[in-house]
Homo-oligomer: 578 residues x 2
């Protein structure tokens, strides 16, 4: 990871790859790397689908090492969905393989002169960029089968589906998992559309012949990793809840506290929550011969994922995440796990953000295109997106776009990006994160659900504005740092609760890089990342007025607690005062 691979897709005579030294980006990984390059090199007022935008793909600081949980890969660019800076990250195998190939980042630049579609193959011998129009409009699963035939099964792939090719703002970048399935998505903000605009369908990575990245102090590193893993196993969330039921353990919890948005953010309890909960899902998975406990990449010790089989016992999709189950489930009034799993599969296959798509279907249902609860209609809607029909062109550009197309006022978005599975009125801390994150509405940017609802790492009343700004500030800083390490964000449960586990994380970084990083150093890194991101956004025209929730969250009371979002504007403006 001592070099950057830059591929100019618009070079005269066809795409050209070159390696450049890290230079000023040395020491960065993951989100710090993508946000540094985008903030420095992309003109903030450029068109997100134009030659001036860049797509940056970066493994984390610890990716490619033996450190547990270090398999996150960051994808950054100017977002076609929000118009601001974007970092979306994913699990799967790509981070580890890319890191072992020695690249701290791949940067896709320029724009092809023609409309040819390309595959990029990278192994120990170098980089091959091949035009291949036979890949056009292939769904991700078919594409990966084709890549296996061409390149064998020792590969990891980063790809787009038809949605990315059609440059839709809900298009994701898919990464393959341990089974070489395209199930791990950098979903948010339309990063797939930017990859599509660069004329790149798939990046195939093969690290055969490459070694695990060596730490500066191998003994200390090994020791730190052991303590880190122990900490994760011992915490109830990372050691029990997530392995047993996955992220979907949250359905019952959020529904219980009345913070589960249903029917396009109308009310906080879903009568069919029990039918789609993590508990029900895990039981069904096991019964049908799937898996309720499974990792998305080698080195994962939390194992929050699973494998979902259909009624006949055949693979349908990976275990849908809580946010996906909510987006296509409660938010659309759909209480049917098989329908939700099918929607998850379709989203993955076409290359779509499940959160954006679920929120979009909710808006379309509010517009009257289908009745809430009509699973077949929801499935057909996603199929329209895959086809690129006119309706699909509307839906594939997300919830805000769909609301505008049909004149719907209630679009649950911030900076154009759909809100996830926690209502900001009943979980006010996450509302602060939605409003102020440079990424647009994003629960992962500062997961105050932990302190508001789960009571992990602190206890702040979810229904009151008090303390939420400070909470979100601290979480956004910590998250920006963790997103840079390549570590799965779920380590935060243990790291926030257990000082020893946090120290083990610091020790991992210090032993690997020969540093003396303290907690303050991590905070500084997080602040640095957020500052670069907010600076880009300011130059793109973002102001305090963009750090606001849609007004209906202030005026419509949310049952059962009958609360509105009560954090004052002037307090939202203090989130980044540090």
């Amino acid at each position: 990871m001592d070099k950057i691979l830059r591929i100019d897709m618009g070079a005269e005579g066809g795409p050209q790859a070159k390696e450049t030294p890290l230079g000023e980006y040395a020491g960065f990984g993951g989100r710090a790397m993508t946000s540094a390059i985008v903030s420095k090199e992309v003109p903030p007022l450029c068109h997100a689908l134009g030659a001036e935008n860049k797509l940056v793909i970066a493994p984390g600081m610890l990716s490619g090492t033996i450190a547990a949980m270090s398999g996150r890969i960051s994808v950054g660019c100017k977002s076609p969905l929000t118009g601001g800076i974007k970092e979306a990250n994913a699990g799967g195998q790509a981070a580890q393989v890319l890191a072992r190939l020695g690249y701290a980042a791949i940067v896709l630049e320029g724009k092809p002169k023609d409309d040819a579609l390309h595959k990029i193959f990278i192994n120990k011998d170098g980089v091959k960029i091949v035009p291949d129009n036979n890949l056009r409009m292939l769904p991700n699963y078919d594409l990966i089968e084709k890549m296996k035939t061409e390149y064998g099964d020792k590969i990891a792939c980063i790809s787009i589906g038809p949605a990315g090719e059609m440059k839709m703002s809900a298009a994701s970048v898919a990464c393959t998992d341990m089974e070489l399935r395209p199930t791990r998505h950098a979903g948010r903000g339309g990063v797939g559309a930017v990859m599509g605009s660069k004329g790149v369908k798939v990046i195939v990575l093969d690290d055969s012949g490459m070694k695990m990245r060596p730490p500066k102090d191998p003994e200390k590193f090994k020791e730190a990793n052991k303590k880190f893993v122990e900490g994760l196993r011992q915490h109830p969330v990372t050691g029990q809840g997530l392995p047993a039921y996955g992220t979907n353990v949250l359905t019952n919890i959020l529904n219980e506290v009345g913070g589960y948005p249903t029917y396009n953010f109308k009310e906080g309890k879903f009568e069919s929550a029990g039918k789609i909960s993590g508990e029900t899902q895990a039981e069904l998975e096991v019964k049908r011969g799937g898996l309720a406990t499974h990792g998305c990449h080698r080195g994962c010790v939390i194992q929050c994922s699973g494998v979902y089989h259909d009624k006949d016992g055949h693979y349908l999709t990976k275990q849908p995440e809580y946010e996906t189950v909510w987006a296509h489930g409660g938010n659309c009034g759909i209480g049917d796990l098989d329908a939700i799993a099918m929607l998850d599969f379709l989203d993955d296959n076409y290359g779509l953000d499940t959160i954006e798509m679920g929120a979009t279907i909710g808006v379309a249902m509010e517009a009257g295109l289908a009745k809430f609860g009509d699973a077949e209609a929801a499935i057909n809607m996603v199929k329209e997106v895959g086809k690129g029909s006119y309706l699909g062109r509307i839906l594939g550009n997300g919830a805000a776009f769909t609301a505008k197309a049909f004149g719907v006022e209630r679009a649950p978005v911030v900076k154009g990006q759909a809100m996830p599975a926690y209502d900001p009125r009943a979980v006010q801390g996450v509302g602060v994160t939605y409003a102020t994150s440079p990424m647009g509405a994003d629960h992962t940017a500062g997961y105050a659900v932990a302190q508001n609802v789960l009571k992990v790492g602190g206890d702040v009343n979810a229904l009151k504005p008090e303390g939420q700004v400070e909470l979100s500030r601290n979480l956004q800083i910590a998250t920006a740092a963790i997103d840079s390490t390549g570590m799965c964000l779920f380590i935060a449960f243990a790291v926030l609760d257990q000082p020893d586990t946090f120290q083990a994380l610091l020790d991992l970084l210090n032993a690997f890089y020969g540093l003396n990083l303290t907690a303050d150093g991590v905070t500084e890194l997080g602040k640095k990342v957020l500052t670069m991101e907010r600076d880009f956004n300011a130059r793109a025209g973002f102001t305090a007025q963009h750090d606001r929730l849609p007004r209906f969250f202030k005026t419509e009371k949310f049952a059962p607690h009958n609360v509105t979002f009560d954090v004052k504007d002037e307090d939202l403006d203090k989130v980044f005062n540090w």
Copy 2:
């Protein structure tokens, strides 16, 4: 005009009208009135289609008097197209009739509880608000026929077509002309969508029994009007060019100087310009029994309009304006006046902004939905909008929206609003207006074409950046003032060139209101209006970064002069330094 009519469409128990005194809005008219009310009363971050937005309809300061040319009516709101403040104005009879009914403004507030559609009838006896769902989805021409049957032919109507009902961002508000046809549109910025969101289909005005508004000094007023009319008749543009050929006299002129954008702003000359020029159009109109010289409202002495008949000699539409002929003609590669006239009719009938629709079709053609030059395809596209099909929902929301739906980078818009018929690279002064006007791209906001091309009111080289900022500043100030008087903007040609005619305009205002307004006073009014508008936009989140042209105008050279837009960003930021 000593009161404001406020209609709360969301009142408990159904819509409620009440009259309020002018209060702080005393002395305002037209754009000054709409922008003052919107800026003061509408929360800048509200949803444009929500209850908090207000639609303000205001005749000008001199409307309803015997003053020539005083028939403009302003329609203002927060724009669903730009997200900023909007004033769009129209000719026709509505301004005069509303002014004589005594209202300085109608303000539509709130949002109906149900989705009922209403008609509002106003005469000397008061205001009636009647739900009438039989009007649903009626095109403007059919609607007006129905209103004539119900209310007689001594009325003037302000209405929306299906586009406004569907809350499309390209929807206009139509005003009837002297023949009681819905041909005069407050077109820009989606004001029709806001009227639709208020559940109001049509406002029928009947001034029977009302009198011409009396001036404070009738003699002076009459004398000033005489001089004013003389000045208009004596100027070559208002006395000859516009009466003979209408605004479409500009096709040959702009094409000749290479500033006529064709094929979605690709190049500056159109090979079929001669086929669609004002000269050709006037000849055809006369030959078919239409009119080449006609006014849009009583009291017009310029008579820049006309009546366009089809091949069989039947009325098809009013004489299409230059911007309409360009938008549906050269910009789409269409050199066929009959097709353009049909498109003009369809736009008027569905209630759509012709500029936005032409730019939208140009973008759709660039996206490959049809070939440039395919008139039948263009007509079908507008029909899709009228039907509200999924394609229509895309196109009806304008050029920026359509570009996003189809992943097209080259969207000729500023603040989301499509550019009109003058390329900003070859007419750099109007480029400054496009970039900086609080309205989004709008030629009427500061018509530097006069000095850049026509050499009226000054002479500034169209192809160079020098002098454009000062020019646009002065024009934007003057225009904001003229838009407040109710005067047709075309008086500016004579007023800018002839000091006597400018003095006559001042004398009209002074004699009517008993004022001592000087040129400085007019400038102050213009600055005041712009300041209110920019203040609203700033509170809505607009920054200097929004006062920019799309980047392709800086990077793509424009034939035949091979120029880019060269006014520097830092100079654009000086437009409002006064």
